[in-house]
């Protein structure tokens, strides 16, 4: 394509020289202008690809010309010609939008190469912008279609439900003998019909779930949850299914597992899907275990694994099992009761709860599906509690010094909330044990205060008296129903040798 260039220079000689050289040595089409105003006028009326202007031209200088073109016709490229003495202007011109600057005296061949380069670059840029726009349009269209698909599924599932209801009703009426006696074969066939309407219903439910997940319309109502209780509940509800195949169910979930933050119903659905799958794909007499533990590799999470002793999944299928309608062996025999959507939904639900899910497997030995859920914020604060205790203990061990842990709990029969009392107590403790104390820290889970002091049993006794005195003065004196404040303490290494023992001993004194 031929490029049109406007050369602006007030010296007739230069103009003609440039025009001649450019026309002779390249296939540019060259036009000439004498001053800034003429140049602007022509740019306005004609289509130029590039303006090559001298810095010193009458009626507006080159810099102004560059700036005005950049503003009014940004698609037109500008290149400025300067002398050595006006190099500063070159920089300024580039800032104003010039694509390049050439220094006089000009080397015509170099000039042509550089003009060509500027034009090529623009060409590439324009093409890139076109491609980006195309991509954006395609993406918009894709989003629109995806949304249409989800809406379609939602409408279709609704429309299919009503005829299904009618069919199910009729089948049940005949099956139960309400329309007259039926024979054994008829009863058998009608139960099959009933079972299959139920299966169709569950496919519809799954499709609807999935379309809501993909459409981003899933409602998540998160709260602090005790995972152990939920796992126990789901395991007991799936027990009959496991017993049918003589499959043993095991649970390995530590009692002190941190609380998690998520949507109870969705987490129950995730567990039901995974454990149900594990039972389905484990042969008679096998076992299925649910394990859970904190998982810090990916932030503050809890990992839950469902492990089966089933047929396993070949390595190259592991990623794809979470795809919709994906069947490992491509046949239908595994999916007699499945819809091929369970794992896709499960993955969607895990991600909606800010977790991740993955699968590991050994063919012939079994598979493990693991997902993570975030630890609740309250628990995250308790991680600080644990962290502080860890650090203090390590320091005491390393320095061969003593460490005393006080735990303080408040029981109030009166009207004040425990939160408020603990808050007040925390302030007072910071004041009264300040000199000796490393830290006063609150545990959110059960709202107890911990005070860590680098002191031995003797010192601990003094601090204990001080704490009790403080409590007496601020919380007991002059109150009709004073709160009961209990103090437990243990000292390393005199009374306890491990961190766990230290905590247990101090905690033990809070009871009773």
């Amino acid at each position: 394509m031929e490029n049109r260039i406007l050369v602006v220079d007030d010296e007739k000689e230069t103009r003609e020289l440039l025009s001649g050289a450019l026309t002779r040595l390249s296939d540019f089409r060259v036009e000439l202008a004498e001053d800034g105003e003429e140049a602007l006028r022509r740019i306005e009326q004609e289509n130029f690809d590039l303006v090559l202007t001298d810095l010193k031209i009458p009626k507006k200088n080159g810099l102004q010309l560059v700036a005005e073109i950049a503003k009014s016709k940004p698609e037109v490229l500008t290149v400025l010609m300067t002398d050595h003495e006006t190099m500063d202007s070159a920089l300024e011109a580039m800032k104003q939008g010039a694509s390049d600057c050439l220094t006089k005296p000009l080397n015509v061949e170099e000039m042509i190469v550089r003009l060509q380069r500027v034009l090529d670059e623009r060409q590439r840029f324009v093409r890139l912008k076109e491609l980006a726009a195309q991509l954006e349009r395609a993406n918009q269209e894709f989003k629109r279609l995806d949304q249409m698909k989800s809406e379609f599924i939602s409408v279709a599932s609704h429309e299919l439900r009503t005829p299904l209801a009618t069919i199910k009703n009729i089948v049940q009426l005949i099956l139960k003998g309400r329309t007259g006696e039926i024979n054994e074969v008829q009863a058998d066939f009608l139960s099959m019909a009933e079972k299959n309407t139920d299966r169709l219903t569950s496919i519809l439910n799954n499709l609807l779930d999935l379309s809501r997940i993909e459409y981003g319309k899933i409602d998540i109502k998160s709260e602090e949850l005790d995972l152990r209780g939920i796992i126990e509940f789901i395991l007991s509800s799936l027990k009959p299914q496991a017993e049918e195949k003589s499959i043993q169910l095991y649970m390995e979930v530590p009692r002190e597992l941190p609380l998690i933050y998520g949507d109870r119903g969705k987490i129950e659905q995730i567990l039901t899907n995974l454990i149900g799958n594990a039972i389905k794909f484990t042969p008679e007499g096998g076992e299925v275990s649910v394990l859970s533990k904190p998982f810090y590799a990916d932030g503050n999470m809890v990992a839950i694994s469902v492990r089966d002793s089933g047929i396993g999944i070949p390595e190259d299928h592991l990623e794809r099992v979470f795809e919709k309608f994906y069947q490992v062996d491509g046949s239908l025999h595994r999916s007699t009761s499945g819809t091929g959507l369970g794992l896709a939904i499960t993955k969607g639900l895990v991600e909606a709860n800010d977790g991740t899910i993955w699968a590991e497997s050994h063919v012939g030995k079994g598979s493990t599906f693991t997902f993570t859920l975030p630890i609740s914020k309250g628990e995250k604060r308790d991680l600080r509690f644990r962290h502080i205790l860890d650090k203090a203990f390590q320091r005491a061990q390393g320095n061969l010094t003593s460490l005393t842990l006080f735990l303080i709990d408040v029981v109030d029969e009166g009207s004040q909330s425990k939160d408020a009392l603990i808050g007040l107590l925390e302030e007072k403790l910071i004041e009264c044990v300040y000199r000796k104390a490393d830290t006063v820290v609150r545990r959110e889970k059960d709202k107890i205060l911990a005070v860590l002091c680098d002191t031995d049993v003797m010192g601990a006794q003094v601090i204990r008296e001080r704490i009790e005195q403080e409590v007496q003065e601020h919380f007991v004196k002059g109150r009709e129903t004073p709160p009961v404040i209990k103090v437990g303490a243990a000292t390393y290494p005199e009374e306890a040798l491990s961190k766990r023992e230290l905590f247990r001993k101090a905690k033990g004194q809070l009871r009773g």
């Binding site: 199910k168 009703n169 049940q172 809501r212 409602d219």
Partner: protein
């Protein structure tokens, strides 16, 4: 004791037929409406003992029928069981807000439905 009267409201004629069949077998008197407006008129005229109500209905949707009856001192005692293909939680919440006593999604188990009806009528 005269038989209890149940109003069945659904625009799916076949479904109405099968539900009516089961209800009549149980000894109830069955009234049928195929649209919301007629349902409202029949409910006001006949004062049935219980109403089975679909949501997506011609002329007047089930939510409105339910609201109009439940906000009327004369009819608010009539139990309304919504029978619907709408399965989303927000639909259910909306159904409960209008004062429906039960929200049952299609397809449903006939025997369970009969049990539910019986328990509402014996209250």
């Amino acid at each position: 004791m005269s038989p209890k009267k149940i109003l069945v409201v659904d625009d799916e004629v076949d479904l109405v037929k099968t539900i009516s069949f089961s209800l009549e077998r149980e000894g109830y008197t069955v009234l049928v409406s195929l649209n919301g407006e007629d349902a409202l008129n029949q409910a006001r005229r006949e004062s049935p003992d219980l109403i089975l109500l679909d949501i997506m209905l011609p002329k007047l949707d089930g939510y409105k029928v339910c609201r109009l009856l439940k906000f009327d001192e004369r009819y608010k005692h009539i139990p309304i069981l919504m029978l619907t293909a709408k399965v989303q939680e927000k639909d259910k919440a909306l159904g409960m807000e209008t004062g429906a006593d039960e929200y049952i999604t299609k397809p449903f188990d006939t025997d369970e439905l009969m049990e539910k009806i019986k328990s509402y009528l014996s209250q």
